[in-house]
Symmetry: C2
Subunit: 214 residues, 2 copies
Amino acid sequence: MDAAAEVFAEHGFRNATVREICQRAGANVAAVNYHFGDKASLYAAVLAELSRLAQDRFPSDAGLDDNATPRQRLTAFIRSFLQRVLSEDLSARHGRIMAREMVEPTEALDRMARDYIQPQADLLRDILRDLLPPGTDPALTRLCGLSIVGQILFYAHCRPVLQRLQPEGAFAVPELDRLAEHITRFSLAALDALGRHNATTPRGRSGTRPALPR
Amino acid sequence: MDAAAEVFAEHGFRNATVREICQRAGANVAAVNYHFGDKASLYAAVLAELSRLAQDRFPSDAGLDDNATPRQRLTAFIRSFLQRVLSEDLSARHGRIMAREMVEPTEALDRMARDYIQPQADLLRDILRDLLPPGTDPALTRLCGLSIVGQILFYAHCRPVLQRLQPEGAFAVPELDRLAEHITRFSLAALDALGRHNATTPRGRSGTRPALPR
DNA sequence: GCGAGTTTGAAACGGTTGTTTGAAATGTCA
DNA sequence: TGACATTTCAAACAACCGTTTCAAACTCGC
């Protein structure tokens, strides 16, 4: 399974070959079918195991006590999410596999969305509900959540592009601490401002919002 | 080439088959090798053509006159970027192919990064330089650019996931107009706040920034 | 130490891939 | 029309894929 995780992370489900997996594991080609039934079941087993590892290595509420403020909870959420996505050790394979799965879904994505992604989405929604003024349009809350997740997943999806951009290293992936700090600051600043404008007209569409430049 | 663009967008370079391309084009299997040399050259030709189409259908300065403000230029940049990525017509194929290329690069990505992505990155950097106070740390400018691009590309990369999230449709992809407006508002709010805090200590690291919650 | 149950191994199978081949069809121009 | 170049076509090729087969090797309770 360790070898399989490596190969799946490198090539994706479809392009990974059981021959390479078995070779890297020092096993025979028939081993996969004997122990797991087929390639797809091995993939499912690897994915489940990696999700479990990533989840309890970087829990979303890392270092929070019971009465943490919403701001603290968002900070922890962003940081642990980034760690799961960017960390170079075991869970890096989880991040790479998930990134591929999002762009090119297999049947495994349905279960991942339900068991792994949905709870994260619910958690973020709850944090944002506490962070934004009461009565905030749920659609706005949702959009803010997507803006935050987007900033994070960007580094999971686009690393190959960042590495190719000039000038040398200027667009390289920043170190994780610096990155988590920036995304948190950027997002909190936006949430504060959007919350302020929205609090005055909890149900209004955009009447009192500052007009966008045209 | 039209059939090829379709099939490449659906399955990616590696998983697309010349047989399906030729069948969809009503041509013989040998046609690809006869007219383009090999599968990779056809892919390169398709990618170049789609980039050209997307670029002059949704130029980054759509509807701007010469003395547009930085805020207007950012608004136009975000909107046209989103259109290139999400629009359902021709350029949808370009968006899907680019998304795949970012997660699973082929040799074609090197040229795309240089000729297509780099100019966009330079443009966004210039806009942000005008938008943030003079003396802003270039690293911060860069991070803000990545935050903005991340929010946009998220919808290109994660649509399959969004469609699978409960509750029904609540996390579906919002319509483009609403989305462009949100990302612009979210980003401008963050830029304004970060600019304010940073302007007081143009070169300082984080001394006077509001402390993050722990 | 032995025999039933489990695991491994080399080889092969059927299927799909990108590419090549060489003949047939089509187009071009005197 | 007749010659020549260009394009299409069905068929085949070699390589690789996931999976199966079945004999050999191993494990472990007795």
